[in-house]
């Protein structure tokens, strides 16, 4: 409605004006027609003129009416422009005319700039490579692995990325869970130590990951030995950690559940690095038969936990409550101490052998 209203008022105004001007106009045409259409006017006045002449005169007048109408419309238009302030809008000074003159010389565009090929390049959001604009869409398709037959490279890369992400997720979430489980089955008397370990492991989770992703399948023993025990532990938490070959100095850096190496071999190597400080002892197969607990942390604790202490503790417990209603906690502690003792003896025997 608001759009139509001004138009309607304008039309009404025009109609009103037209009627007023038509009152004025008859005074104008008389003079004008007398110049331009004198013959026609005369023809009308002449009594003995032909019908053709009369018709011609009438046609001239009709034409004049049409022309007058058009001029009237034009005048209204000009007036409208005048009142809206757009009449002089296209008047510019000579400077700007010179400045924005349309150039029509060959070899230049209309602004007078030289025609040269612009190298339009786009940055691929996926691999951040510079790409000619014309090649960008096909590249993106391949790079992101869209389309039906995306390139093998892209699909492989995506697969790698996914596996990495999943691996890191497992490390960040499941890794902690593993730690907790291990520790919960371990010694309760070491709570403070446990918290310290878990926090340190959480903190080191990412560097260890990074190292794993950076290392190309294998890690040198020397680099591992350069670290302190906690760092080694955090590294070994995330990788298989087994020696790639019996006498090589490379460690397998595949995920902890690597299928290439058995649990026994893993345990051995862990034991080797964490307990014996990386001494290149030849690990006999019998050593692998020890009932070692599945994870290295437990090894450490048991090792630091003195056999004498456990003995004393056990004796004390036995003496304290000989009642048949022994708490489960006690029983576990005794079992653990037993096993640790056993293991300790075996280790000692190993060292003696050497």
């Amino acid at each position: 409605m608001h759009f139509i209203f001004p138009y309607l008022t304008f039309e009404l105004y025009a109609c009103r004006l037209k009627s007023r001007i038509m009152e004025i106009l008859p005074a104008v045409p008389d003079e004008l027609f007398s110049d331009t259409f004198s013959s026609a006017a005369l023809g009308l006045e002449e009594e003995g003129s032909d019908a053709a002449d009369i018709k011609a005169a009438a046609l001239d007048l009709v034409l004049e009416d049409i022309i007058t109408n058009v001029i009237f419309g034009f005048s209204l238009e000009i007036h409208r422009m005048c009142k809206k302030g757009v009449l002089f809008i296209e008047d510019t000074d000579t400077e700007s005319i010179q400045q924005f003159k349309i150039v029509d010389t060959p070899g230049f565009d209309i602004f007078g700039q030289e025609l040269k090929k612009k190298s339009l390049e786009c940055v691929c959001p996926n691999c951040e490579r510079l790409m000619a604009a014309s090649r960008f869409a096909p590249h993106l398709e391949k790079c992101m692995g869209m389309g039906r037959c995306s390139s093998r490279v892209a699909s492989r890369r995506i697969a790698n990325n996914i596996s990495k992400q999943e691996g890191s997720d497992n490390d960040s979430l499941g890794g902690d869970n593993d730690i907790d489980n291990d520790w919960s089955t371990g010694k309760r008397s070491k709570k403070v130590k446990k918290e310290k370990y878990s926090s340190s492991l959480k903190g080191r989770g990412r560097p260890a990951n990074k190292m794993r992703t950076e290392a190309a399948g294998e890690l040198d023993v020397s680099t591992l030995l350069a670290m302190d025990v906690e760092q080694r532990k955090s590294v070994l938490m995330n990788i298989c950690g087994a020696l790639s070959e019996p006498n090589s100095k490379k460690i397998c850096t595949r995920p902890a559940k690597c299928t290439l190496h058995s649990d026994e071999v893993r345990q051995l190597s862990r034991h080797n690095f964490l307990v014996d400080n990386g001494s290149q002892r030849v690990l006999t197969p019998t050593a692998g038969c020890h009932p070692l607990p599945p994870d290295d942390e437990v090894d450490i604790d048991i090792d630091t936990f003195d056999d004498l202490d456990s003995q004393i503790l056990r004796d004390a417990l036995w003496e304290k409550d000989r009642t048949p209603t022994a708490s489960p906690a006690d029983s576990t502690s005794t079992v653990n101490s037993n096993s640790s003792k056993k293991r300790g003896r075996k280790k000692k025997s190993k060292r003696n052998d050497k």
């Binding site: 004008l32 009369i54 022309i67 007058t68 058009v70 034009f74 000009i78």
Partner: protein, 89 residues
């Protein structure tokens, strides 16, 4: 006779068609630009606030009439004639 021809032209809508043709022809031949420049002069002379439609019409009509090229007039006359011939048959 003039009024009867006018009536026929308006009733059939031919008058609007003719006006359209005339407008385009006048724009094509530069009549419009010329007359616009003339109007600008008038507006400058009288002042933007004091211009009335009556003034503009009174000043532009004689000049506009005189400036309409003869061949445009001839074309329009021919069109009117053919229209009338079609009507009469």
């Amino acid at each position: 006779m003039r009024s009867s021809i006018n009536q026929k032209l308006v009733e059939s809508g031919e008058s609007e068609r003719l006006k359209d043709i005339l407008r385009t022809r006048l724009i094509e031949c530069g009549w419009r630009d010329e007359l616009k420049a003339h109007c600008k002069e008038i507006v400058k002379r009288k002042g933007l606030e004091h211009v009335t439609v009556e003034d503009l019409v009174a000043e532009t009509t004689p000049k506009g009439r005189a400036l309409v090229p003869d061949d445009v007039k001839k074309e329009l006359l021919g069109r009117i004639r053919t229209f009338l011939a079609q009507q009469s048959t």
